[in-house]
Amino acid sequence: MNEPKSSVCITVNGVEHRCEVPTRLSLVDFLRETLRLTGTHVGCEHGICGACSVILDGDPVRSCLMFAVQADGHSITTVEGLANADGSMSVLQDSFCETHGLQCGYCTPGMLVATHSLLKTNPNPSAGEIRDAISGNLCRCTGYQQIVDAVQLAARRVAAGNGNR
């Protein structure tokens, strides 16, 4: 059987991509292998770990549980799109460095996507709300506490005007 294909138009980090993709290509493989945006990680490939989280039309979703064809006409933001326009790190990203919110970094793109989305709707989350927002993201290194610290630090810095996000 020939590999069925479909043409799509997907906006990723503000750039429109028109191409033909195999129907069974997952969105995460499209991002990493077709577009070479390897910031988004892929762990379990069946919806458990959260490493592949991206923002679809404003909401965080798992990109291993979508086929690229489903993203046709939609807009995606990956971890690459979270940095400042000049390429420097966002306050949230910088706060992860400050508090040691990452060790191996495997979970980090998913954690950033999840907590970036949280801060957009809830600029001053409690520790419980942060833990809830990252409950779908596994980290085998940090024990999560430093990730919670990072998000709280970012929230404080933004509230104090010490940051542009």
Binding site: P4, C44, S53, D59, M66, Q70
Partner: protein, 297 residues
């Protein structure tokens, strides 16, 4: 962990989805949020030859009150249903159940209809639908039928939905009384995991605090979610005091047929069902009393 080859179509209407299903029959699957179907395809437990995307069908996303029922389109995202304040006042168990479902990333994609048709025996929405006696509107090319929850859930991950049918909407009974209370609780290894056992209850009391109506549902302890009708009926006319509730749920095991696995033995599941059933009944009673005092939850 890559899906097998499939042909893909994006349906723009329920009618179009149904005619694609009629054409491709048992080889086709509807793709809603993909939060259950795509993992199964990745593991090659499912290999549909055709995938019909129903995510862009606007008519699957309506949510409205229709007299004594609330009608939710099958394609509504779980997150949107959970956030709908009006729906939460009309059918509070839906929000109370969704609180336990998955994570923000899975609820942003997962749909009401997908969860109900997937019909995991531990899933929260099927339990709420069974307890409340919701009904399911199934469409196929040129016809439509309505199936009651009691007939819809047939076995683990098996429902009355035929391969050529699309679940269009779900009709949830609205209890219109003044003093209605409800509660949902479960035990799982971590929040967001499927429940080991889940329970939900809804009660209505009169001005003297006497129970006039009650339902009690248990999930995760039988092949389908169960509605403990005789127990709920035995509460009618009582004050729903703690001892009455404890005595009533004693016989919960008659409804259950749990298995044992690495998380819990069958015996422990029955024990949990009893504890959770009593707890949700007490909370529903207190919630109903709070409604009467005007402290709306």
């Amino acid at each position: 962990m890559k899906a097998a080859i499939f042909e893909y179509a994006r349906a723009e209407s329920i009618a179009q989805a149904c005619s694609l299903l009629a054409e491709h029959g048992a080889d086709a699957k509807l793709l809603a949020g993909g939060q259950s179907l795509v993992p199964m395809m990745a593991m090659r437990l499912a290999r549909p030859a055709w995938l019909i995307n129903v995510n862009e069908i606007a008519e699957l996303k309506s949510s409205r009150r229709d007299g004594a029922v609330w009608v939710t389109g099958a394609g509504l995202r779980q997150v949107d249903v959970e956030r709908d304040g009006e729906l939460a006042r009309a059918v509070p168990l839906i929000r109370q159940g969704l609180y336990w479902v998955g994570h923000i990333q899975t609820k942003n994609r997962g749909t009401v209809g997908g969860s109900l048709v997937h019909a995991d025996p531990s899933a929260e929405l099927p339990l709420v639908a069974q307890a409340l006696g919701a009904s399911f509107v199934l469409r196929r090319n040129g016809s439509e039928r309505t199936v009651a929850a009691a007939d819809f859930f047939q076995a683990p991950m098996v429902t009355a939905t035929e391969p050529d049918e699309c679940l269009a909407e779900v009709r949830w009974p609205v209890w219109q009384g003044e003093r209605v209370g409800s509660a949902f609780d479960e035990l799982s290894i971590r929040h967001g995991d499927y429940a080991i056992v889940a329970a939900c209850a809804q009660v209505e009391v009169d001005s003297a605090g006497r129970c006039v109506r009650a339902v009690l549902g248990i999930g995760g302890a039988a092949s389908v979610p169960v509605s403990a009708e005789a127990i709920a009926r035995s509460l009618h006319g009582t004050q729903l005091d703690d001892t009455t509730i404890e005595a009533a749920v004693e016989s919960i095991g008659q409804y259950l047929d749990p298995g044992s696995d690495v998380h819990a033995t069958a015996e422990y599941r029955v024990h949990l069902a009893r504890v959770l059933a009593a707890r949700v009944l007490r909370r529903a009673r207190d919630h109903a009393a709070g409604m009467a005092r005007g402290t709306r939850a």
